[in-house]
């Protein structure tokens, strides 16, 4: 197994492909920099390993290597992007030529390079033993223990699917500003899915987590046991779930992963590209009240070892902590270099891409609401009748109208201030600029999610984090079947 992290990105790419920072700078100088506003070269080498255990048999063991280079040139609002999966000088030159041809300024005026100063990269996830190098036997042993633990937890569990994915990415970015910066990014995720079956009725339960952490993270404090028992508990609980209510009601969201509300309701709408183009429901609203004054939301890519964290973004800008909403007032957008330049704002370290095959866009990192004052139990007691949702599947938003939906995978009725029957998957639907005005209580129990989020935008997937304290939302629409 390669230990990619034992070498610097600069040495990695020069040893393996003969591509050095000096060569990349020459390409940028010769092929790209003249007559464009910005340009960069992005090299990437990625190793991914997936292990899936089903029916206590290793159903999938796979290892994937991908590598490539993306070359980008920008002028005004135009972007030229070319990529190749053979990292060689001739391919980089050809990609640079293609990228420049597109972005080349029509007018003769030379472009002025917008050069945001180079900040210091963070050091958020240096690991003594990255998850990709841990021995397969140890990984498979853990998956077998999870299978046994989930089956032991309840006799109604018929199927257990335990999976572990581990990844390491080495990147090197050279910018037209004349500097190169690299990063080595470990990432791992453990997931447990179970099917519970009783009297011909079947339900699914799922739990997981991870981050930019070593394999041993899953063994600490028997974390893996909790994943197995939570998945089991959720599936068995759903066997006795009642129909979800339909209509407008008070909704209490539990801490942690329900922060996906922020991601869908406001996060995407505050990405720089949609606002520059004026197609976001939040466009032109900086300084305006868009949420209850109890609400402060930040996007923070600098939290050590989190799934959504990065030392630098995929354009080489160090990640930061951007306050998006402060006490209910819209205070910031998330930016990449292109949209920051065009909007005359500073890049915020949110320029991300799925891989070398994709140009960067403004994307979220870890997005969460800061804690408030209220006792979570007291928040539930304050609701005469409503819905209490603690776990969610996916969500989606229409940026332009602001309409979003997200689907609860574990939710309960609240009756007379008490949490009662579990309900079947209910969908919550709302309008971004309105939803956070409905926040009437914020708990003191902020939690970040376990480390499972993946965000899709324009066909590109990137790992993200979310977080939330317990909150109460008044007048949300719940899409169940019980009228």
């Amino acid at each position: 197994m390669d230990d990619l992290s034992s070498t610097s990105p600069e040495h990695f790419f020069s040893d393996r492909f003969n591509v050095t920072p000096a060569l990349m700078e020459r390409l940028l100088g010769g092929e790209l920099a003249r007559r464009v506003d910005d340009a960069d070269i992005y090299l990437e080498y990625r190793v991914n390993e997936e292990l899936v255990l089903e029916e206590n048999v290793v159903k999938k063991a796979s290892r994937h290597v991908s590598q490539g280079a993306g070359v980008r040139a920008q002028a005004e609002t135009r972007t030229g992007y070319a990529h190749t999966d053979e990292i060689s000088l001739s391919n980089l030159e050809e990609a640079a030529r293609q990228a420049r041809a597109i972005a080349d300024r029509a007018a003769g005026a030379p472009g002025v390079l917008a050069v945001p100063g180079r900040g210091r990269a963070h050091d958020l996830y240096a690991l003594a033993e990255p998850p990709i190098v841990t021995a397969l036997t140890r990984k498979l042993e853990l998956l077998r223990k999870i299978d046994a633990a989930a089956r032991a937890a309840d006799p109604r569990i018929g199927q257990v699917i335990a999976s572990l994915s581990s990844e390491e990415i080495v990147i090197l970015i050279a910018t037209a500003s004349g500097w190169t910066i690299g990063d080595v990014r470990p990432l791992t995720r453990l997931n447990v899915t179970v099917i519970a079956e009783e009297n011909g009725k079947r339900e699914i339960g799922s739990w997981g987590g991870g981050g930019r952490v070593p394999f041993d993270y899953f063994l600490e404090a028997e974390r893996w046991t909790r994943f197995a028992t939570e998945a089991t508990r959720q599936a068995v609980l759903k066997l006795r779930a009642v129909e979800a209510p339909a209509g407008t009601m008070t909704v209490v969201l539990g801490p942690g992963w329900p922060g996906i509300l922020l991601h869908e309701a406001i996060g995407h709408g505050l990405e720089g590209d949609f606002n520059r183009k004026g197609v976001s429901a939040f466009a032109g609203r900086l300084g305006q009240r868009v949420a209850s004054e109890l609400v402060t939301v930040v996007d923070d890519g600098t939290i050590p070892n989190r799934r959504g964290s990065l030392n630098v973004d995929d354009e080489g800008t160090p990640t930061g902590r951007t306050v998006l909403i402060e006490n209910g007032v819209l205070t910031g957008y998330m930016q990449d270099r292109l949209n920051a330049r065009l909007m005359k704002m500073a890049p915020t370290g949110n320029g991300r891409r799925e891989s070398y095959a994709h140009p960067p866009m403004p994307r979220m990192t870890n997005t969460f609401m800061l804690a408030g004052q209220d006792d979570p139990q007291e928040i539930i007691r304050s609701v005469p009748n409503g819905l209490y949702a603690v776990a969610f599947g996916g969500g989606q938003v229409d940026i332009t109208s602001g309409r979003f939906v997200f689907s609860a995978s574990e939710a309960y009725l609240i009756e007379g201030g008490r949490v009662t029957a579990p309900v079947k998957g209910a969908t919550l639907i709302g309008n971004g600029p309105e939803a956070l005005r409905r926040v009437s209580r914020v708990g003191h129990d902020l939690a970040l999610d376990e480390g499972v989020g993946t965000c899709g935008k324009d066909g590109q997937s990137v790992p993200v984090g979310v977080g939330l304290p317990t909150i109460r939302l008044d007048g949300m629409t719940v899409g169940g079947t019980q009228v």
Binding site: R63, G394, I429, G480
Partner: protein
């Protein structure tokens, strides 16, 4: 636009090495592709993207134990490393009695020409000419109404790909495809409200692309009809799904009929083979042999000849969708639906079609006294294990058989089995414009949640 000649020998060398390293059998897929994308926004070039990609994916068996590996680095050193890692992985995985390649005697012998590749007919258009198509589509949207003042842009794309499948038994066959597409996403605004919608055309042969201006005008009409959208009161009413949203329901049925979900007992279609799962008017076929269609392929990801499968015949579930492995697990045979991605072998549909009925879509709408005509669905509220269904919807309210005001910020909810059982009308408006298609569908009753 040209991709280098296929390199089947690359794949056969790799499979040979796997055997030498102790694998009992192995198969592999090689994909080489080239993409071009150009987007235009408000008449200006936005992003132009060129790309070339290649990927070799390998599956090796050590007896009944298996492992998979893939790489985009086709250098000799990298390929040797991939083979060594995959064979090493296979040795640590446990035996699975159902693992293995299909019987070599069942592999396709003659690969049919489905006209999936546009071969040099005239000159390749220049990048400028391609950009111009996107510009024309967007311009038509912007010019069609003063309320269309902004746009997320228009995009032209083309893709040329070659596939080779080979096994360690000596089988090696390949095919090539082309695809071309054009899409537009205009933004309509009025009184501070903004609404976006889109329209697209995607085809195998460039000449079949829909006229750019027509795509732009359709996209504009779709965005405009959403202006003034409002919530409705929570109620239970008939729902009319337009062809695009109806196709998403058909995809959900195919997902539940797919082997991996079934052998995991994670599907609401478990134990339903041969039983009624939909109204008798419903027939769904998966036909992978339609010439020039987007979902066609001459053989599946395990070298088995593609065919036409009746998934649902007059309301009865007639077949599952299986690869060799899930077939063996279920005591059935592969239906030749194996798909191949970097991660291994799965199941995918080809051209999935809900057969049209006799009724013009206008008549379906006219038959509804009070209900919802759905034009877009968002979110992930489909539970494949139970069939429970709850998604965000956008559309138009039907009152006395007429489309009236636009509706948004509501959900439609039910259960897929009940919904397919309650199909009361099927439109005659089937158009083969994507891999999964349906005519307009009328579902008797569903819950609409709003105010």
């Amino acid at each position: 636009m040209s991709v280098e000649a296929l390199r089947p020998e690359l794949l056969t060398d790799v499979l040979g090495r796997a055997r030498a390293r102790g694998a009992t059998e192995a198969d592999g897929f090689l994909i080489e592709e080239q993409h071009f994308n150009a987007s235009v926004r408000l008449g200006q070039v936005d992003t132009v993207k060129h790309s070339r990609e290649q990927r070799l994916s390998l599956r090796v068996f050590a007896g009944k134990a298996s492992a998979a590996a893939s790489t985009s680095d086709l250098s000799r050193a990298s390929l040797e490393r991939v083979v060594d890692e995959a064979t090493a992985l296979a040795r640590v995985t446990a035996e699975d009695p159902h693992a293995g390649l299909p019987d070599p005697a069942e592999l396709i012998t003659a690969v049919p020409d489905l006209e999936l590749e546009e071969t040099a007919s005239g000159e390749e258009p220049t990048p400028e000419a391609k950009v111009e198509l996107a510009r024309r589509a967007e311009a038509a949207a912007l010019e069609s109404d003063p309320r269309i003042g902004n746009s997320e842009g228009a995009e032209y794309w083309d893709r040329r790909a070659r596939y080779v499948y080979a096994t360690s038994h000596g089988f090696a066959r390949g095919y090539a495809t082309t695809a071309f597409g054009l899409s537009v996403s205009p933004v309509a605004s009025a009184g501070g409200e903004m609404q976006r919608d889109y329209w697209y055309s995607a085809v195998r042969h460039r000449a079949a692309l829909e006229e750019p201006a027509a795509i732009g005008r359709t996209a504009a009409r779709r965005a405009l009809r959403r202006l003034g959208g409002r919530k409705v009161k929570t109620t239970e009413v008939p729902i009319v799904f337009d062809p695009d949203t109806a196709a998403s329901l058909v995809r959900s049925i195919a997902g539940a009929a797919s082997g991996p979900g079934l052998y995991r007992r994670a599907s609401f279609l478990l134990d339903r083979l041969g039983k009624r799962i939909a109204a008798p008017s419903v027939t769904i076929v998966d036909d992978g042999l339609i010439p020039r269609a987007l979902g066609s392929r001459p053989f599946d990801g395990e070298g088995l000849a593609t065919r036409s499968t009746v998934l649902v015949g007059e309301g009865v579930l007639e077949s599952y969708l299986l690869d060799s492995y899930s077939g063996r697990k279920l005591g059935l045979r592969s239906t030749h639906h194996a798909s191949r991605d970097g991660a291994g072998v799965g199941v995918s549909t080809t051209n999935l079609i809900l057969r049209p009925g006799p009724t013009p879509p206008e008549d379906l709408i006219r038959s509804v006294k009070s209900g919802l005509y759905v034009t877009e669905l968002i979110g992930f509220g489909v539970n494949g294990v139970t069939g429970d269904y709850s998604r965000g919807a956008v559309g138009l309210w039907i009152e006395n058989g007429e489309l009236t005001y636009p509706v948004e910020e509501v959900t439609v909810a039910g259960n897929l089995l009940e919904m397919f059982g309650a199909i009361e009308g099927i439109g005659n408006d089937l158009v083969m414009r994507d891999r999964t298609v349906s005519p307009t569908l009328l579902v008797g009753r569903m819950v609409v949640a709003g105010n």
